[in-house]
Amino acid sequence: MTDWLSPAEWDAVRLSLRVAFWATLINLPVGIALAYALARGRFPGRGLLNVAVHLPLIMPPVVTGYLLLLGFGARGPIGAFFESTFGLSFAFRWTGAALAAGVMALPFMVRAVRLSIEAVDPRLEQAAATLGASRLWVFLTVTFPLIIPGILAGTVLTFAKGMGEFGATITFVSNIPGQTQTIPLAIDLLLETPGGEGRAARLAALSIALAASALALSEWLSRRVAARVGGQ
């Protein structure tokens, strides 16, 4: 296996998995909360919030990366706050790559979850409230179980996006082997290196395999959930 990919490329694979994992983990609560607010909330600025969540989807990724650099870079106000308060820095580190992947994937998570929340009959939530469940309990015992398929779909999309994010990542945290060089960044570098095409192709094949397995896993899980809910 070691000849198949060089240690540096295995680093890229491990890093991609780590970046995608953290991006997905952080996106789950944030995405579900935003999706719930957008689907069920009635508050001023809801339209604006909706636009803000979708911006990474419609802006050039380079622009998203640039904005992240301005806000979360070493000299950015939010970056400086995180650095001084939590000792967490994003600049030119894998954490920054995870942040870029998370931000780029957020619209996918929010859209998938929001659609499934909108498909939940609000009359079921009312019924739960009349039976004594507070809003939080209604969400946990009725809404959440019914939107699990949407959450699974959002999770897979986020994970796949985290594995494959390129533009915002390279703009925000550059292409540093072992630190920010995820699979797509490694492929990009190999393609510019003489004799690197073969290894680039193998990395590409590997990333396709990872994405496809994630999709298959989520399909299987959501079919199981759907069978339970529809079911006997």
Partner: protein, 361 residues
């Protein structure tokens, strides 16, 4: 325990302005669709916040806009039985039934699961999910779920409307048992005269968001002006006791000492029933008819003659069995010279009383 409701609410062009009191037993909100019945129940449940109002259940103030009290739905302690069941699809029947109990206060007097399962015949369904239940089964689970939440008030919004006649006949007896067993008031929305006749202790008749009549069932229902479908659906409710079942398929009942013969009823001798007799099934005669095939003859005094919009008129007759209504044409009323205070005989054919119009009383 009493429920006092006073509400004022505007919804576009529709204004709800209703005030009524629901004593223990079943209080039916009765009126055609759009009369505000469901809005009232939703306001009691807290699902609709009225512009102004005060709702008091026993000694608990659920809503008092003047005092700024607006309890959230989950703090109101009521069991709401919806028209479409609204069971949780991801939970089993058992989990649906127990849902309310998870949130009920620890010390609350609560119906026993085994007892409710028994009362509603749910034993075989407990491990199934709602997707696998028939309409009637779903509605029975919905009733059980409301009962088991330790409610201080039960609300039912046309719980039988989505069911066919056979399923209605299957579920109505459960509501009768509930009325007779549960000490909590039941607020029941309906536009079916026979449902009202079978269940209601008290009737609140609504029209265009306003209460047009309220009071004991027999009293309100004998007033055709309050019926949603007008005189066509008029009918009176009598209380009767089963005397005996005869071999020819008839049951003999006694209503205020007057014998009534009806097709075999499903109740044991000695049981009390309420019977709804539709006004169009009652004919009138000056003298006690002889040689007539109809079996039930009730002598009485004409209390009121109310001409309808069309060719008909409703005649209310006070008999020893209670007030009954007869729908006659205005022409016959004139030809017969019917007048208030006159002696008449009301004649009811035995087979005219439908099984759905007989209930435990």
């Amino acid at each position: 325990m009493m429920l006092d409701v006073a509400l004022r609410h505007s919804l576009g062009a529709f204004t709800l302005d209703a005030q009524f009191r629901a004593p223990p037993g079943v209080t039916v909100l009765f009126g055609r669709s759009g009369s505000g019945k469901t809005s009232i129940v939703n306001a009691v449940a807290g699902l609709l916040m009225p512009d102004q109002g005060r709702i008091v259940s026993g000694d608990r103030v659920l809503l008092d806009t003047a005092a700024g009290v607006r309890l959230k739905p989950h703090g109101r302690r009521l069991g709401y039985i919806f028209q479409e069941g609204r069971l949780f699809p991801h939970l089993t029947v058992r989990q649906n039934l127990c849902y309310g109990a998870w949130f009920a206060p620890k010390g609350a007097a609560r119906a026993d699961l085994a007892q409710v399962v028994d009362l509603l015949g749910l034993g075989a369904l407990l491990d199934r999910r709602p997707g696998a239940l028939s309409g009637g089964e779903k509605q029975r689970v919905a009733i059980g779920r409301a009962l088991l939440s330790a409610p201080q008030l039960i609300l039912a919004d046309e719980p039988l409307a989505a069911l066919d006649e056979a399923r209605k006949a299957e579920i109505l007896p459960y509501f009768e048992r509930l009325r007779d067993a549960a000490g909590v008031p039941i607020l029941y929305v309906s536009h079916s005269a026979s449902e009202v006749a079978r269940l209601a202790t008290t009737v609140v008749a609504l029209e265009a968001g306003r209460v047009i009549a309220q009071g004991p069932a027999a009293e309100v229902l004998s007033n055709p002006a309050v019926l949603p479908t007008g005189a066509r659906d008029a009918g009176a409710v009598l209380s009767a006791r089963v005397i005996a079942h005869h071999d020819d398929g008839l049951s003999e009942l006694s209503a205020g000492g007057i014998p009534l013969f009806l097709p075999r009823v499903a109740a044991n001798p000695g049981a009390s029933l309420r019977i709804r007799i539709a006004a169009h099934d009652v004919i009138l005669s000056h003298t006690r008819p002889e040689g007539l095939s109809a079996l039930n003859i009730l002598p009485g005094l004409i209390h009121e003659i109310r001409p309808g919009g069309g060719p008909g008129a409703i005649v209310a007759i006070d008999t020893a069995a209670g007030r009954i209504l007869s729908r006659v044409t205005r022409r016959s009323a004139t030809t017969m010279g019917l007048a208030v205070g006159q002696d008449v005989h009301a004649v009811v054919k035995a087979v005219a009383v439908a099984a759905t119009d007989i209930g435990a009383g």
